[in-house]
């Protein structure tokens, strides 16, 4: 129990510059990078495990073998959740990596840090990089107030995954791309069977961002917005917001939603046939495929549109002198080029980060290797809006998370919950 307090203080200590980062040999050879003419060593930090870990190492060796003068050293930094603290400690200690994988939600927090390299001019000078080829959702999250702080490393979105067997047993036709909320709602109710402990749908109900982002997708589908266009006031307390929350309320009252407490139990319950539909991303696909449950994938049902929500992450470049920045940029250009991006996707099952990848001949192999994944890829076109890119967003998310939870638990009416949340969010946004 004491560990956390210690952790807090240790984190503060590290950030203050006392924390020697635990990175090894390759960063200590920082001199060689700027020596000119010789080989440039750069370090990439990542938190991948299993398939993705071997894929990144494979691609890095391929790059090293084909690019004379640059050597990329891949270093595992542990859990992605703590990457920000480690990277910041390394900046303070004067030995940052050259490239690091960072969550997209951290972009507004790091933009002011002088240790990161803003990529605007590099991108502008290099038309072959074709920045606009990246999915818009990825570009938006990598851009803070016009400053591009990273290159999209991963891009997800939510689609509808359903159990074909349960649909057939309930006599419901498979969802189409034009499915409406009311069709979705009646399917969820029909798929519910309390005696058999069967639920139509699952919703993560831990009031975390996992609870909130699914709701944002519904809000957008009903034509609502999170904040006003100037970003200064809450806008979710609207007819669209109430409509979306009422859909959740209705399904919860019908006991059609399995309320997951945040531990991810929904996945095992879906693969064992206790849940009819999920709104989830490609990260669950490997487990679903492995379970042999007969599944289908479809874009989300819609109200006035079928928007989805995307959660992109970034490769961020850190300043270790111009020679190393140049080498890091060379590597990222190569890594995110359409052909290599497709290789990565085929090895890992991650979605391609660029739209043009879908036009490559080998894209067919990727789709046949991961049945259903093409729906998520196409669905990226439905990720037309993003969450506010703001340091205040986590606080906004916490307030809205509680509002959604209070409705799911039957403690509040949608209108009442949203009015209260609106008031709190406006307070957060107004604070100096």
């Amino acid at each position: 129990m004491k560990r956390l307090v210690l952790f807090l203080t240790a984190g503060a200590l590290a950030l203050a510059g006392c924390g020697g980062s635990s990175n090894s040999n390759s960063t200590s050879s920082s001199g060689s990078g700027t020596a000119g003419g010789g080989n440039v060593d750069i370090t990439l930090w990542e938190g991948y495990t299993e398939t993705e870990a071997s894929a990144i190492n494979k691609l890095a060796s391929e790059f090293n073998a084909t690019h004379k003068g640059i050597t990329v050293h891949v270093q595992f930094y542990g859990n992605n959740d703590y990457a920000l603290q480690k990277v910041l400690a390394a900046i303070a200690g004067g030995k940052p990596p050259d490239i690091s994988y960072l969550y997209g939600s951290w972009a507004p927090n790091i933009v002011a840090n002088p240790g990161i390299v803003q990529l605007n001019s590099l991108i502008a000078q290099d038309p072959s990089f074709n920045w606009n080829d990246f999915w818009a959702a990825g570009r938006r999250v990598a851009t803070v107030n016009g400053k591009i702080i990273g290159v999209p490393a991963l891009i997800d979105n939510l689609a509808l995954v359903y159990n074909k067997k349960l649909f057939a047993a309930a006599g419901i036709a498979a969802p189409t791309a034009n499915w409406t909320w009311s069709e979705f709602e009646s399917a969820a109710v029909k798929l519910t069977n309390t005696a058999h402990k069967q639920f139509g749908w699952a919703y993560v109900n831990d009031a975390s961002e996992d609870t909130v982002w699914r709701y944002w997708a519904m809000l957008w589908q009903a034509g609502g917005a999170i904040l006003t266009p100037d970003g200064k006031h809450a806008a979710f307390n609207s007819p669209a917001g109430v409509k979306a929350l009422t859909l959740l309320q209705t399904l919860a009252q019908h006991k059609s939603i399995y309320l997951d407490n945040g531990s991810g139990n929904y996945l095992g319950l879906f693969t064992s046939g206790h849940i009819g539909m999920l709104w989830t991303g490609p990260w669950d696909l490997a487990n679903i495929t492995a379970s042999k449950v007969p599944y289908g994938v479809q874009i989300l049902p819609g109200d006035i549109n079928h928007q989805t929500i995307s959660g992109p992450d970034n490769w961020v470049v850190f300043n270790n002198g111009s020679a190393r920045t140049k080498a890091a940029w060379e590597f990222l250009k190569w890594l995110t080029s359409p052909a290599v991006d497709l290789k990565w996707a085929t090895m890992t099952g991650d979605l391609p980060t660029r739209e043009s990848v879908t036009k490559l001949p080998a894209y067919k192999q990727f789709v046949s290797k991961y049945p259903g994944v093409d729906v998520w890829v196409r669905n990226l076109g439905n990720a037309t809006q993003s969450r506010p890119v703001s340091v205040l967003y986590p606080k906004i998310s916490a307030v809205v998370g509680e509002a959604i939870q209070s409705v799911l638990l039957g403690r509040a009416q949608p209108q009442q919950a949203l009015s209260q949340a609106e008031q709190q969010v406006n307070g957060i946004l107004a604070a100096p």
Binding site: M1, K2, R3, L4, V5, L6, L8, T9, A10, G11, A12, L13, L15, A16, C18, L84, Q85, L88, N109, I110, A112, N113, K197, F199, N205, D206, A207, S208, Y258, L259, N261, G262, S263, N265, L269, H274, V391, P394, K395, A398, E402, Q405, S406, L409, R411
Partner: protein
């Protein structure tokens, strides 16, 4: 000077001053504890000092902070969410400490006899303590799942209504109390078992010869002799209860609807989810002072009430 010379043990007074220090008992003692002292200094004392400075800053743990005096502390006293977190933590502690210490005494007495399979029972009590908190949390999430959990199944067998447990804002805190008691009681039992076995047999014999019943022997002989162990366990459990975090983090994450947001979980949210590092450090310091005061009071009461046999 003379006094100093007199204190010197005979036979050790000669030679180089450094050698004198090196061969003294003090030096050996310090040499033995030095590794621990250094580690504690690095991993505890320096961070403790640092977080005091941090608590005086507006610091998002990302960019360098700036000093704001006592503003974080002033904000804390107006923060009603912090006040609710204190209320919940006090309620948790007020139930957890007596239940776990009292329960441990009962279990220890039950385990302190020679019956078949006693090693197995003792092991069974101790196993939860060595099980990782994360594993405990995940197991309880499943056991307490409203639809698929074992507990609701058992309730249905005897015809009792189904409960929401961790998903009910009115029940979650009590589920956490039960879960943490289960997880931590093994430690208390071990301490009590050791203390029970240290009770001199002649005292118990004397009580028996004087015609004391088993109950009054327990009340008037055993319980007072367990005083030092009880004092230790109460102080230790209180400190732990006031710092409850891991179990919350892996099960309810402070919910539902904030009903299990304890002081340290609130600190975690502020510092690591909302990036209010200075504010989080201020919470840590308020908690630190509170724990210090509670412990001093407990020890002061203990000194007056606890009987030390030796």
């Amino acid at each position: 000077m003379a006094a100093h010379a007199l204190r010197r043990p005979a036979g050790r007074s000669r030679g180089h001053p450094f050698k004198r220090i090196a061969s003294s008992d003090n030096f050996a003692g310090w040499a033995f504890v030095m590794p621990a002292v250094i580690l504690i200094a690095i991993f505890a004392l320096i961070p403790i000092g640092w977080s005091l400075l941090l608590s005086l800053q507006a610091n998002n743990l990302i960019a360098p902070g700036h000093y704001v005096g006592l503003a974080n502390y002033r904000a804390l006293f107006k923060d009603h969410q912090f006040r609710s977190a204190i209320g919940r933590t006090v309620l948790y502690t007020a139930i957890f400490v007596p239940v776990s210490v009292g329960g441990a005494l009962a279990v220890a007495v039950a385990l302190n006899r020679k019956i078949r399979g006693i090693r197995f029972y003792r092991l069974a009590v101790f196993v939860p303590l060595v099980t990782s908190t994360v594993a405990t949390g995940i197991i309880f999430l499943w056991l307490l799942d409203p639809t698929f959990g074992l507990f609701n199944y058992l309730l249905s067998l005897v015809g009792l209504p189904q409960q929401q447990f961790l998903q009910d804002p009115n029940q979650a805190l009590y589920c956490i109390i039960a879960m943490t008691t289960w997880g931590w009681i093994g430690f208390d039992v071990i301490i009590y078992l050791a203390a029970l076995q240290g009770i001199p047999a002649d005292l118990l014999e004397a009580a028996e010869m004087d015609g004391a019943s088993r109950l009054s022997t327990f009340r008037s002989v055993v319980v007072p002799l367990l005083g030092p162990a009880t004092l230790f366990l109460v102080v230790w459990s209180t400190i732990n209860a006031l710092q409850l975090f891991d179990e919350i983090y892996v099960t309810t994450r402070g919910g539902p609807l904030g009903s299990t947001t304890m002081i340290v979980y609130y600190l975690y949210e502020q510092a690591f989810q909302f990036f209010n590092g200075g504010y989080g450090a201020a919470i840590a310091y308020v908690l630190f002072v509170a724990i210090l005061l509670v412990t001093i009071v407990q020890l002061w009461i203990g000194r007056r009430r606890v009987y030390y046999s030796s």
